[in-house]
Amino acid sequence: MVSSSGVRERHDMSLPSDVVACLKWVSHPGEPHDERFAGISPADRSALEFALVQAAALGTTVTAVTVGPPAAEKVLREALACGATHAVHVPVHGAMHSAHVADAIAEAVPDARWVWCGDYSLDRGTGSVPAFLAARLGAQQALGIIAVHWQGDGLVATRRLDGGRRELLGVSPPAVVSVEGATAHLRRAGLSALRTAAHAEVRTVHPAATAHADDAVVRAYRPRARALAAPVGDTPLDRLRALTDSGAAVAARGDTVTLEPAAAAARIAAALHEWGYL
């Protein structure tokens, strides 16, 4: 926030919370001003549950953060009713680029050691905020997690890979973890907690990054065009197969190689370029 004197007001914005849950409030695309049809994704609910469980284990507090319109405060009150200690609302009208959303969150909770996010929002955005946030906070990132096992001050996260494979990530703080929706089930808020949360304090902060509100250009999803070489084949059917990647055309294109990570990454990039994806 820039004051009338031109000095950025950063003081008193951060909260001393070790564990943070990021919740993205999404309006219904057909009813953008009707909060009845707005909410957060199951993935964000999972993230909040993990944050609450972890904070209880560590004996620390949970701060729920959302960047969005005034109506988004509703989800923060739900988080408070479920057990979050603090709630921070970064008011923003309009869409904002993921990098700037991450900037705003990082400014609001700069000292967070654990940040929990859903790996997708209700509007199925880019899912890139957690990665940007990890970069801003200088934290490890473990994204798209499907299982968490607590281990001392850290955790071991299971991440989904292609082909039904999994990878285990040892994660230590500071870290940003994004989880899938079915990973945890958010606890049901108690009645008295709900009543109290309705009047609880929700801190409103105005990080400098919110100056970028409305900078995101939201367009319908369109896959990137791929430049394809002319299909090769003796018959129209062979050329059609080659063109549509069906049958032997795909099998002939696959390679199995064993390389060092750097060489493997270069090989993958070269293949993607060759196939027209890059």
């Binding site: 009845r36 049901r188 808020a189 108690g190 009645l191 008295s192 907690a193 709900l194 009543r195 309705a198």
Partner: protein
């Protein structure tokens, strides 16, 4: 219980029109009010196929018509009598109904109920959603002192509980206010919402702007006693039937098949043609009036709206939301006075019954107490429509070179042909006259 020993002054269970009005009145009086709603927001699970008659709103929200989420103002009211191949329509239209303070309006209940509950919230009531009340809390003397909910730490106490939990009220039953319930006292309302362009609706139903149409239908319900309806919204129409539960079960018919048949009737098909199905919904309706009403009060608790069976189904009058709003308002007023007087026993809350009795809420039900049974009787449902339609057809049919027959002769012949006994006709006519006269 005293205020210091309860969590709040008033708990309202249910966020429909009755609950919203009860909470609004109590909150405006300065009481602490919690409204518990099972759905994610008030109105989210509520349905009807009908018209909101808003006179009660005049008392609660001045110039409500400037802000209420209304679809259309009903300026045209029709009653149709259908046989398989015939239709007789009595059609009335009033310009005055299109202007404030309006006579009736179509509205989407999720919008209307949400708006009304919003006024209660603005007045200070706390609305807690996605919370189901699972039972009553009583003191040692049996007085209701609160409710249990499905949430952790879910008990909440109050000096007065107002049960607006809808038809088949579990709270009223648990409190022992219903002596008995009988399936024959209920109908099943089933509705399809069909999308059509506004200009198509305007053209088909002969209206413009925000003017709308309410069509009530007798007959064409597949032999199941009940009725049909069509209401116009801005860009949708609601087409549905109200069916007697016992007959529906006995005939083993499915309600959606009955709606499908109604939509194919030659008098209805042109109205609904090419409508895109947007929603299908169903709801129980308490239609037996005084015959099924519970005791309205017990120590610490009042019942309002559909929970108190306050739904008027009297043929040409089909009303529910206005009875719900009025009973909710009176329940709220009674709670305010009882709490102010420090007496929330059954005696202290007894004034609620007087308020209902002295106003249209029970006066209309008393006056029309015979109407529901008459309207849903086999003769009115199955014999009279055929008889009347045949009489009218013969009156308007030109049988040259035969001369026109007299109406009395036609009536006599068609009464016999329809199998209607003269004494039944006279008895039903007398019952109808006493009810509607």
């Amino acid at each position: 219980m005293s205020a210091s020993t309860t969590d709040v002054d008033v708990i309202v269970v249910g966020g429909g029109p009755a609950g919203a009005c009860a909470a609004l009145v109590a909150a405006r009086a300065g009481l602490s009010v919690v409204l518990l709603e099972r759905g994610p927001f008030p109105g989210s699970k509520n349905m009807y196929g009908g018209v909101v008659y808003p006179r009660i709103l005049d008392q609660l929200i001045p110039e409500w018509w400037l802000e209420a989420p209304v679809q259309r103002w009903v300026t045209r009211r029709s009653t149709m009598l259908l046989t398989d191949t015939q239709a007789l329509t009595v059609d009335f239209r009033s310009e005055a109904w299109g202007k404030p303070p309006h006579n009736g309006a179509t509205a989407y209940r999720p919008d209307f109920d949400h708006w009304l509950a919003g006024h209660a919230e603005a007045a200070g009531a706390q609305i807690i959603t996605s919370t189901t009340v699972t039972g009553l809390i009583r003191d040692a003397q049996g007085a209701v002192i609160g409710v249990r909910t499905d949430r952790p730490d879910g008990d909440l106490t109050a000096r007065v509980v107002i049960a607006c939990d809808g038809v088949n009220s579990f709270l009223a039953k648990e409190a022992g206010l219903y002596e008995h319930t009988d399936a024959k006292h209920f109908t099943l309302g089933v509705k399809e919402t069909l999308a059509l362009p506004k200009e198509v609706i305007d053209e088909r139903f002969g209206v413009r702007g925000r003017d709308g149409v309410d069509i009530e239908i007798i007959g064409a319900t597949g032999g199941v006693n009940g009725g049909g309806f069509i209401y116009t919204n801005l860009e949708t129409i609601a087409v549905g039937v109200v069916l007697k539960i016992t007959k529906l079960g006995a005939q083993q018919q499915r309600p959606e098949q009955i709606i499908a048949a109604l939509k194919q009737h030659p008098a209805i098909a042109p109205l609904v043609q090419d409508g895109e199905l947007k929603e299908y919904s169903a709801h129980l309706i308490p239609e037996a009036g005084l015959k099924m009403m519970p005791k309205m009060t017990t120590a610490g608790m009042l019942v309002a709206g559909d929970a108190a069976a306050l739904c008027l189904a009297a043929g040409i009058w089909l009303e529910g939301v206005n009875f719900a709003m009025a009973s909710g308002m009176y329940a709220g007023e009674t709670a305010v006075e009882a709490i102010a007087g420090g007496d929330t026993t059954a005696t202290g809350l007894a004034d609620y019954q007087r308020r209902l009795s002295d106003t249209f809420v029970l006066k209309d039900h008393r006056k029309l107490r015979r109407a529901p049974e008459l309207v849903l009787s086999d003769r009115v449902q199955h014999l009279y429509p055929t008889m009347v339609a045949n009489v009218v057809e013969r009156m308007f049919r030109v049988d040259n070179p035969n001369p026109k027959p007299g109406v009395r002769r036609i009536l006599a012949q068609e009464r016999k042909r329809a199998g209607v006994r003269r004494r039944d006709l006279l008895r039903d006519g007398w019952t109808g006259f006493r009810s509607f006269g």
